[in-house]
Amino acid sequence: MTDFTRRTLVQGGTAAAAAGALTGPAFLEWSKAWAQAAPWKPEKDAQLSILRWKYFVQAEDDKFVELMEAFTKATGVKITISRESYEDVQPKASVTANTGAGPDLFWGLYSLPHLFPQKCVDVTDVADYLGKKYGGWVPSAVKYGKEGNKWIGIPICYTGSLMNYRIAASQKAGFSKFPTKTDEFLEYVKAMKKNNTPGGFALGHAPGDGNTWVHWCLWAHGGQHVDASDKVTINSPETAKALNYAKALYDNMVPGTASWNDSSNNKAFLGEEIHWTNNGISIYVAANKDATKKHIADDMNHAYYPVGPVGKPTELHLMFPILAMNHTKYPQACKTLIAYMLEADNFNPWIAAAQGYLTHCLNAFDANPIWTEDPKRTPYRDVAKRSLTAGGLGSNGEKAASAISDYVVLDMFASFCTGKDDVKAAMSNAERQLKRIYRS
């Protein structure tokens, strides 16, 4: 027999967070108890509509829907969910911000709340509540979530982009563990190519895989597209070094990476055409699910990106922040929902359902067993801590968002690697485009 009181539920829930998930009626009871104790009370007859990025892992979305349904049952707030491919959330959110009509909540990519900070509900209280309760926010999350002293969005999770590699092929090439320095990585790439087990990074217009690796490469060599005052600094010797390094990698990659989109490397890795690439954990998840690909899952592992001459990690991962529009009639309901999503009892099973595809931004969730029960997932635990932000040294607003979605840095790398432009032309083309994007 289960005899829950509100207090034991709330306390037990948080304490036993990592230990296991509540299910069925117990979960609903917990949700109800949580809603009563929560610092926010949804408005009467509140209804929310939320636009989220379209999931990569079906189980993650199923869990998300389950959470929303439990929230509705516990609070009476009806929720409508719609989904868009992640690069399409931004235009819709912008239009909503401008017209004041549309979904109440947007869950999108990178610096979404910074595109229209004055249109976002101030969620500082939610961020403080969660931060205090769960061991604080990672630094990149603070940068993405805060504008001045105010939180304008809550960083829900990251999707990590890390190195995926085949173990046996790497060992055969003489690397018992994955290279941790860029010089060593170049040797690795050459050796892999020589052994006829090459890999590759996307150089086509791949918003995820393409943008993440070129930014890593640029930053690893000390290049920056803008400085702290948003002055364009792409045309620099450091950028030239990064370009030359990328070209050396490209010359030893599998042919055709200039045409790759976000799914090409997944296909090629699962088709055993490539033996290293950068990706989320989706290749591993897919390989584990398919009996005919199980041997790939067994023979692959993940690693951080190698550290470059700057001497510290320079990774870029996909951040998914949520924001509430201030045209919403139910700001309290929005806040309640956001806090509810990130409570350990909800967030832990949800992150577990995503099987490593989503990484938390709150330190306490490091303890989730999902990260340690399979050591191959462990590197993805740390992506939030290691990630830099999409704006580089500069601001995280619409300029940074434009530069990324216009593929300025990616095209600079692609045009040099494929031999279309020399270093100077590639840099000055990018500089010209960036100056326009960053003009005041």
Partner: protein, 317 residues
């Protein structure tokens, strides 16, 4: 009595008031009949077009109306190598694809116009590429052109003709020819079937007369079929050029304009800059820059249609 009648002549018929006249005016009535259509055209065609042109003179962003900045967007584009590359790509794409579509389409139409078994079925089959949704056929081509899994590369490799995979979409020129090929594949049925319809309007008696006169097959084609087909060719090619010039889906699915913008058309670049990059004004300027080219294509066929020589053969001025 009679005097009275004479001295009081019947009042002259009253001149109809303007309103009464208007009520029976056919032009006035016609205007009312046309109003719904006009409203429709203005609302859904003229207004968006005008708005697009206006946006191109502003620095509007998604979600924020801009201020008038004159020709700044055009000034920037005139100096933007990516924009000029997209103009070049669009022209190459349109010209090559339209010419091939015309040549192969006409050939196919002539073939299909012959008597053959299962004529109706064969004609229906030819239409398939046109019926399949563009996105679907584009995804099929995406697999065909895949850098690692291309069926073409695979077959050639197994036949021992090539060593490595063909880099269809990763090399600038390969990518251009590949997307042009996909567009041709998709566009031929439209040209072929429409020209076939045109061919069937040519009176058989002309062919009979020519045959009696001893005309060769080529002469029959050159002096009967082709001249009689010119009006429909003008219409078909206008449409074909317009569709090709404004193509978007095929490129977006296959390459998103890559590699290194080698397959960016003006339409795809406009979308990338306006919707994804958020610079509505600049994107609108790229779209507006397409108008002169489209107008030229329309005017060419318009004047062509007006010329009787085109319509009715060379000797008829």
């Amino acid at each position: 009595m009679t005097d009275v009648a004479i001295s009081n002549p019947r009042p002259a018929p009253r001149a109809p008031t303007p309103w009464e006249r208007l009520k029976v005016n056919r032009n006035w009535l016609a205007m009312w009949f046309m109003l719904p259509t006009a409203a429709f055209l203005i609302l859904f065609l003229a207004y968006p077009l005008g708005l697009g042109v206006w946006l191109s003179f502003t620095d509007a962003r998604i979600g924020r109306s801009g201020v008038f900045i004159g020709l700044e967007n055009y000034d920037w584009l005139s100096d933007d190598p990516v924009f000029w590359l997209s103009v070049f790509n669009t022209l190459l794409y349109t010209i090559v694809a339209s010419l091939v579509k015309f040549a192969v389409g006409l050939y196919l139409a002539l073939l299909l116009n012959q008597h053959m078994p299962f004529k109706a079925i064969v004609r229906a089959i030819v239409l398939i590429p046109f019926i399949v949704p563009t996105v679907l056929s584009a995804i099929a081509f995406w697999w065909i052109y895949d850098a690692q899994f291309s069926i073409v590369s695979w077959s050639l490799r197994h036949m021992g003709l090539i060593d490595g995979n063909i880099n269809f979409l990763g090399d600038s020129w390969n990518a251009r020819w590949s997307v042009i090929f996909a567009n041709i594949w998709r566009g031929i049925p439209f040209v072929a079937i429409t020209l076939l319809a045109g061919l069937q309007t040519v009176s058989p008696s002309l062919y009979e007369a020519a045959t009696i006169d001893g005309a060769s097959k080529w002469q029959i084609f050159r002096h009967i079929t082709f001249p009689l087909l010119t009006p429909i060719i003008a219409v078909v090619m206008t449409f074909s050029v317009l569709f090709t010039f404004t193509d978007f889906q095929l490129i977006w699915v296959l390459t998103r304009g890559g590699p290194v913008n080698a397959t960016h058309l003006m339409a795809t670049l406009s979308y990338q800059r306006a919707i994804q990059g958020g610079h509505l004004g600049e994107g609108a300027a790229i779209s507006t820059a397409m108008i002169p080219f489209l107008l030229a294509a329309i005017l060419l066929s318009w004047f062509g249609l007006q010329r009787r020589k085109w319509q009715q053969g060379e000797s008829n001025d």
